[in-house]
Subunit: 332 residues, 2 copies
Amino acid sequence: MAASIKDVAREAGVSIATVSRVLNDVDVVNEETKKRVLSAIKKLGYRPNIVARSLKTQKTRTIGIIVPDISNQFYPEIVRGAEDVANIYDYNIMLCNTDLNIEKEMEYLKVLKEKMSDGVLYMSNSLEPKILELIKQLQLPMVLVETTSKEDDIPSVTIDNEKAAYDGITYLIKKGNRNIAYIGAGEDTVNASAMRYKGYRRALQENNLELNKDRVYFSSPKAKDGYKGINEILNKTKIDSIFCTSDEIAIGAINALRDKGIKVPEDIDVMGFNNIYLSSIFYPKLTTVAQPIYDMGSVGMRMLIKLINKQELEERNYVLLHELIERDSCKK
Amino acid sequence: MAASIKDVAREAGVSIATVSRVLNDVDVVNEETKKRVLSAIKKLGYRPNIVARSLKTQKTRTIGIIVPDISNQFYPEIVRGAEDVANIYDYNIMLCNTDLNIEKEMEYLKVLKEKMSDGVLYMSNSLEPKILELIKQLQLPMVLVETTSKEDDIPSVTIDNEKAAYDGITYLIKKGNRNIAYIGAGEDTVNASAMRYKGYRRALQENNLELNKDRVYFSSPKAKDGYKGINEILNKTKIDSIFCTSDEIAIGAINALRDKGIKVPEDIDVMGFNNIYLSSIFYPKLTTVAQPIYDMGSVGMRMLIKLINKQELEERNYVLLHELIERDSCKK
DNA sequence: TTGTATGCGTTATCAT
DNA sequence: ATGATAACGCATACAA
């Protein structure tokens, strides 16, 4: 068994209280005894047992991160941003993959509470009533990333998805495109990306362009859906450009076009969304609406830590800035 | 404050011992009182405090995963495989990014011990003496993934990297290639991938092909290094094919070739390594040596859990099977 | 400045 | 079948 505070106390010839004091650098303790304690600690290779400390202090310095799938999309980078900040403040993170399965989400939330996580960073599509109720009941400090809570006011960090899509479409229109297809997140999606379709429609409307449902294909953010989407759309109508709500969709779309002998961007413009690493090394390099992915994680974690420490949040619903990145998949 | 076992006991009119018994389904407890306890639990919305339980049982049911960078390479998928298995056995995972920084690795190892993790899954390049010493001292159950420990016998899961590279090169040779470039992990790399260069040399040798250092470029596994590598190599000599020790390198290489007007695979064959998701949607689709990435995580976690439960490992150094996946970046 | 004692929420041993 | 209680390792209020 590893050495405990008792062993250190015995070795240094003091009480455990004194050892605890030097451990936590609290109260005043005689320089001489402090030295004795320190050397006893070193001699025994003692490390405080954080579990015991947590039981006493009711704080574990670990934070749960609930994520749909760490092997997917931009979640790795969000998590990285979050962990970096957590690390700075001496927190560790517990990673939980849910596959957007409500039952799994609820299970993890409960476990996180039982393990006394100090808070949770939550990413999901939906915030179903069942989940919301559980969250309230559990009383865990929480912030939403890339997810919004509508009426209920759980702090969140997102981008302005409606505006981001609007900006992307406007760009396409300015380049002379008129028949702009849309592939990706639908209105029913409950997470933040649902607003993108709204932005698409507003941009069309403000430019007196007609909304043609034949050019719209709602789907998951995967490449294969981009591929399928293009084929479906081209069967029905003509287009001069495509707005995709993820870079993977854009890649799938470009692959489909290539298979049909259609060139990007010579024949058709394709715009992605998110600016994942991939989009800068794909050919052609993707023009895309960038989300500050890493920052969403780091800002979210910063907010959460403030929340945990009962500090005031200057902004409960943080909206980070998106940016249109011009590369090679749209005509210059 | 959340309800504790005491509250439940009071509510049900029994002792905490009895509550604990029904909680853990241990000993025999009267059906009648069991019901009372259960309903008290429900009424109070009681959840056991796992931290307290951990202090008592000396087990936390959480496992640390030490990884260079979750936002990089195939680590997300390894971690996903690991978490899925952990989840099955009711373990949670603590994610730690080290950027291959030794100090960070040591720090995390210590914290993991202090927080009483039941074990750790360790991914790194090196197993420096300092680390090895700390590992021994900490006495944490551990398994290495995509990392080997040479003399010290820490259980591990890898593929046969030498053979995998050998198979890749042999394939290239069979397709008629004679001047095969190599870009990627060098011999000095201490992790498993260092063996790939060995496989490259052996394949050349067995086919009476000369090893020409001008065709070899040691680098990190990033795309930009593939790009740079090609330019350096083509400045010095002629090649008909390229073996890359990561898919990202292969992509960088293909991009460099395209910029020079060289076609893949018509002019030059390019082979990747790992078979990350990307390689199946890139154009051209990458012919690559596949590692069973997800499985490395899941198998590693399975081994670790066995280790934690003091079960016998049928194989301490698990070697998973690689597979050559023929796609479009090499001539058919 | 230092020590004693209590409690954090459990599990498990020993009585009853 | 159930209850009282010690112990897990630490932090801290209170005494000295």
